[in-house]
C-alpha cells in the first residue's frame, strides 16, 4: 500500500500507564501498540474512561509511560526529562483543546504567537509573520486583532487551530475539539481539519462522536485501555458537502 512508504510519525510500542490511587492501581493503558504515518487523519474513539485522554497525554509528551516506548518523529520520549519534553512539544506538537484555552483579553494574533514565544529561533517579526500566515490558513485573516473574549466559539477554536499550526508541527493533537460547538460550527471546524489533512498534515482527533470518524482516514477504538479496533476508512466523507446539506438556520 501507499501508506507503507510514508514516514512513521508516531510509534507506540506496548505502552502501559498505571495510576496508583491510594492502595489501588488503575491500569489506564494496558499495552498499546500502533504506528501513525505522515499525512494520516486518525480519530480515536472509545467510551468514557477507556483511556483516550491518557493516551493523548502520552502522544502529546505531557506524560511518560509506566512501561513501553513512544517514538515521536523517531525520538524516544519515555526517558526524556521534563524540560526536553517541553521543547519537543514546542517543536513537534500542536494541541487543540475542547475549551479552546486562549489567553484572556489577548488578541488572536498574540494567542497564535504563543508557542513561538518559547522558540528562540524566531524573532518578533518572524513570529508575527508566522502567526498571520496561520490565521490566514484558518480563514481568520481579517480577525487578527480581535480579542479572545470578543469572538464566537467557532472563531476561538479556529484561533486555537492556528496556534496549533504555527510551529509547523509533526502532528496536531485535538481533544474533543468540536465538543463545545453546535453542529454547524462543528462541521466548519471539521472542514478546516479536512483541509489541513489534504495539505498533508498528520492529525489525531480524540472524540466520542462516531459520526466524526467518517470524515477521517483511520479510526482507532479503545476499550479498557486497549486497542479494540483499528481500521482504515475506505470512503472518507466530505465535511464541506455535509455542511452544504445542513438546513440553513432559520433565525435571522
Amino acid at each position: 500500500m501507499e501508506e507503507k512508504q510514508k514516514k512513521v510519525v508516531i510509534e507506540l510500542d506496548n505502552v502501559r500507564r498505571d495510576f496508583v490511587v491510594g492502595e489501588e492501581t488503575v491500569h489506564a493503558l494496558r499495552g498499546i501498540s500502533f504506528k501513525i504515518h505522515e499525512g494520516e487523519f486518525v480519530t480515536i474513539m472509545g467510551t468514557s474512561g477507556s483511556g483516550k485522554s491518557t493516551l493523548l497525554n502520552q502522544l502529546g509528551c505531557l506524560d511518560t509511560p509506566t512501561s513501553g516506548e513512544y517514538y515521536l518523529d523517531g525520538i524516544a520520549v519515555s526517558t526524556m526529562r521534563k524540560s526536553q519534553r517541553a521543547k519537543l512539544r514546542n517543536r513537534k506538537i500542536g494541541f487543540v483543546f475542547q475549551n479552546y484555552n486562549l489567553l484572556p483579553k489577548t488578541s488572536a494574533v498574540e494567542n497564535v504567537e504563543l508557542p513561538l514565544m518559547y522558540n528562540s529561533a524566531y524573532n518578533a517579526r518572524q513570529r508575527r509573520e508566522a502567526a498571520e500566515a496561520a490565521l490566514h490558513a484558518v480563514g481568520l485573516g481579517n480577525r487578527m486583532n480581535h480579542l479572545s473574549n470578543q469572538m464566537s466559539g467557532g472563531q476561538m477554536q479556529r484561533v486555537a487551530i492556528a496556534r496549533a499550526l504555527v510551529n509547523n508541527p509533526a502532528v496536531i493533537l485535538a481533544d474533543e475539539a468540536t465538543g463545545n460547538l453546535d453542529t454547524r460550527t462543528s462541521f466548519e471546524v471539521l472542514v478546516l481539519f479536512q483541509k489541513l489533512h489534504a495539505e498533508g498534515r498528520t492529525i489525531i482527533f480524540v472524540t466520542h462522536n462516531p459520526e466524526i470518524a467518517q470524515y477521517s482516514s483511520r479510526n482507532i477504538t479503545l476499550r479498557d485501555g486497549k486497542v479494540r479496533e483499528d481500521v482504515l476508512n475506505p470512503k472518507i466523507l466530505s465535511a464541506a458537502e455535509a455542511l452544504a446539506n445542513l438546513p440553513i438556520p432559520q433565525d435571522e
Binding site: 505531557l62 524540560s83 489577548t106 518559547y118
Partner: protein, 405 residues
C-alpha cells in the same frame, strides 16, 4: 523565553490587573518613601550638626576635670575639682600649640533688672573667651585684663537676656543688673548666635570675669572647664598631647596614675555627634525597612493568588512548550516589575515627602546612594518574595493545570 518577551508578558499581566498590582505596590511605595525620608532627615540632621559645630570653631579644645567619662562610670565629686587656676597659668605660659586660653566657671540662676527678671547662666571667663568662641560684641566692649585682676563686677549679656531685661528697648550698656543679688554693670551686648542644633538658645547667657564669678558668686577655687584654641585645626592633636603633658606635670601625676582631667577637641565632639546621628539614622531606617518586609510579604501573597488564578494559563503555556524555568522566570519578572515600579513611585513619593519635611523645618538632604539602595532592595524583595510563588507555578503538572477550573 527571552528577556524582552518576559518583560512584555509581565507588563501585560500587571496592566490587566491594574488595581490589584497597584495595591501590592502600595506597600513598597510607602516603605521606600519612608526609608528615603528617614535617610534624608538623618543625613540632613548630621550635616546641620556638623555645620553648627564647625561654626563654633573646629580648633577649640576643652579640658574638663575628672578622668574620661566616656565609659559611663560615675565619679566622686572631689575628682571634679582637679582643675585649678594654676593649670590655666601653666598652659598660658608653656603651651606652644595653643593661642588662646580661658578658664571657665559657671552658675545658673535669676538675673534681675528693675521689675524684669529671667533665668539664665553666668559664665566666668578670661578676655580670650570671645576669640576662642569666635563671638562678636555688638554693643559696648569686652571687659579687660584689669577687670579680671580686680574681680570687677562687670559683664556682657546675650541678646536674649537683653530682650528679657530691657523689653522697652533701652540701651543696656552702663546699666546694673543683679545675678544672685550680686550687682554687675553691663559693658557689652553680644551679637546674636541663635539656637544651636540641640535647640539651645546661645544668646541666653551672661559673661563676666572668671575671678569675679569664682570669688563673689561661687566662692570656689577650682575651675569647671578650660577652653583653649589650637593654632590650627590640624594641630589639635599635637596641642592635646602637649596639654596632657603640661597638666600631668602640674598635677604631679606619677607614671602609673590615670589623667584626672579629660581633654576633648571640637573635632572629636563632631565625630561623636556624627556617629550618634548615624546610629539614630540607622534606627529610623531599620524601622522604615520593616515596612518593606511587610510589603514583600504582600507581594508574595498577591503573586500566590495570581499563580492560582492563572493555573489554566500556566498549563496552556507548558503544553505549548514552556519549560518550568520559563514559567518561573515569568512570575519572577512580574514580581520584580511590581516591586521596582513600586520602588520608582516610592522614590518619587519619598522625594516629595522630603520636600514637605524640609518645608516643615526639618533639616533634610537626600543621599544619592539611598536611591540606589532602594532599587537594589526592591529588586531583592521582588526576587525574594516572588521566588516561592514562581517555583509553585513552575512545578505544576501541565495535565492537571490545563484542566483546572
Amino acid at each position: 523565553m527571552n528577556f524582552t518577551n518576559l518583560i512584555k508578558v509581565a507588563l501585560k499581566s500587571i496592566a490587566s490587573n491594574k488595581f490589584r498590582s497597584f495595591l501590592s505596590m502600595l506597600g513598597i511605595i510607602i516603605g521606600v518613601a519612608a526609608v528615603i525620608i528617614m535617610m534624608a532627615i538623618g543625613q540632613g540632621s548630621k550635616e546641620s550638626v556638623r555645620k553648627n559645630i564647625s561654626q563654633m570653631g573646629t580648633n577649640i579644645i576643652m579640658i574638663r576635670p575628672g578622668s574620661d567619662m566616656r565609659g559611663g562610670v560615675r565619679q566622686d565629686p572631689s575628682a571634679m575639682q582637679t582643675l585649678k587656676i594654676e593649670d590655666y597659668r601653666s598652659i598660658q605660659q608653656n603651651a606652644q600649640y595653643i593661642t588662646h586660653v580661658s578658664p571657665e566657671v559657671s552658675s545658673s540662676g535669676q538675673v534681675i533688672y528693675g521689675a524684669h527678671n529671667t533665668s539664665t547662666s553666668i559664665y566666668g571667663e578670661s578676655t580670650d573667651y570671645l576669640t576662642i568662641k569666635q563671638w562678636k560684641v555688638e554693643d559696648g566692649m569686652m571687659f579687660t585684663e584689669e577687670d579680671i585682676n580686680k574681680s570687677a563686677k562687670v559683664c556682657l549679656i546675650g541678646k536674649t537676656v537683653a530682650k528679657e531685661l530691657f523689653p522697652e528697648g533701652g540701651d543696656p550698656i552702663g546699666k546694673t543688673i543683679r545675678f544672685k543679688s550680686i550687682p554687675f554693670r553691663i559693658v557689652g551686648v553680644l551679637k546674636s548666635k541663635g539656637y544651636n542644633t540641640f535647640g539651645m538658645d546661645q544668646d541666653n547667657l551672661i559673661i563676666a570675669p572668671y575671678t569675679t564669678v569664682m570669688k563673689r558668686i561661687l566662692a570656689q577655687t577650682y575651675l569647671g572647664t578650660i577652653n583653649c584654641s589650637a593654632i590650627t585645626e590640624e594641630m589639635t592633636d599635637q596641642a592635646i598631647e602637649e596639654l596632657t603633658k603640661i597638666l600631668r606635670t602640674s598635677h604631679k601625676l606619677k607614671e602609673h596614675e590615670k589623667d584626672n582631667f579629660t581633654i576633648r577637641s571640637q573635632q572629636e565632639m563632631m565625630d561623636t555627634m556624627s556617629s550618634t546621628m548615624d546610629t539614630i539614622t540607622v534606627i529610623l531606617v531599620v524601622a522604615a525597612a520593616f515596612s518593606l518586609l511587610v510589603a514583600g510579604i504582600g507581594i508574595m501573597n498577591i503573586m500566590l493568588v495570581s499563580v492560582t488564578e492563572r493555573t489554566k494559563e500556566i498549563g496552556l503555556r507548558m503544553s505549548v512548550g514552556a519549560r518550568g524555568i520559563d514559567i518561573c522566570n515569568q512570575f519572577l519578572v512580574e514580581s520584580i516589575a511590581i516591586s521596582i515600579t513600586g520602588g520608582v513611585l516610592g522614590v518619587a513619593v519619598g522625594y516629595l515627602g522630603t520636600l514637605v519635611c524640609g518645608a516643615l523645618g526639618f533639616p533634610t538632604s537626600i543621599p544619592m546612594w539611598s536611591i540606589m539602595v532602594s532599587f537594589v532592595v526592591c529588586t531583592l524583595i521582588g526576587v525574594g518574595f516572588g521566588y516561592f510563588p514562581a517555583r509553585k507555578a513552575a512545578k505544576m503538572n501541565p495535565i492537571e493545570a490545563i484542566r483546572y477550573e
